[in-house]
Point group: C2
Chain length 157, copies 2
């Protein structure tokens, strides 16, 4: 089957649950939207956090809103190399057994026990699009980028 | 057909012709080998050059020996972005109509009229291996890298 889809690279970011957001920013805090992202209701928030993983710190990691059910940090393999650790390749939300981190907002610190992942390649589609593409959740697809240096990405969930 | 081959990324480098080598390093100069490379008789030389392309300079570009028929500079797309120029994707040796550069060795400078390329994906194989793989010069193949983030590279010449 041949169907064109937009391709995107997601920069490293963090999702917060409401509880962790309030611990760091105060009771009833609401994230401030600076830019809508391409997927559903996601937005880049004005707020950022420093993240300590092992002995190293990633500064000013962008928070992506709205709040999620559980706090999750999505980094790249390049970040993992820089941190000197192995990070698991996971689909968003599947964070059982993943490493934790310390979230830092000036003097406030919050340890999370798990949630640091490298996001696995994935295809976003709403139920209507999925039906049109004859795709079901959990299926794996390949996507080819054309051009002189053409590439096919496999294992896209 | 399924056949395993080693995959390598070539770092940016420069090949010099004997004439340009002697202009910069002196008459009868021989490159000093610091490390054998994987392909045929290629080696990383101790000598490096600074390269000026447009208004920007790439410092300490490694020379790869032995000398070639014509001087050629092989960079990456990332280098081209850094230089702020478009560079053509070419197979080694195919440098007609490509941009030039200035080669700098302390106070000595040498302008070359052409030879700056981004190396096109290619497969090295000697005649015996080519026969075994049923490949001929000019053919194009695809190579798949296995794993959780599997990739297929196309247009490998």
């Amino acid at each position: 089957m041949n169907k064109k889809v937009p391709i995107e690279i997601s920069a490293r970011h963090i999702h917060l649950c409401q509880k962790d957001l309030e611990t760091l920013f105060g009771r009833g805090y609401q994230l401030k939207k600076i830019r809508k992202l391409s997927q559903a209701d996601d937005f880049a928030a004005r707020e950022t956090l420093d993240i300590k993983i092992g002995s190293k710190i990633i500064k000013r990691l962008r928070i992506v809103g709205p709040v999620r059910k559980e706090t999750q940090i999505e980094l790249s393999i390049t970040d993992a190399v820089g941190l000197g650790i192995n990070l698991p390749l996971r689909l968003s939300g599947n964070i059982k057994g993943t490493p934790g981190a310390t979230l830092i907002k000036s003097k406030k610190k919050l340890k999370i026990k798990r949630g640091v992942i490298i996001a696995q390649r994935h295809l976003h589609c709403n139920p209507k699009e999925a039906k049109k593409l004859k795709l079901k959740n959990g299926m794996s697809v390949s996507i080819k980028i054309k051009g002189a240096r053409a590439l096919t990405f496999h294992n896209i969930k």
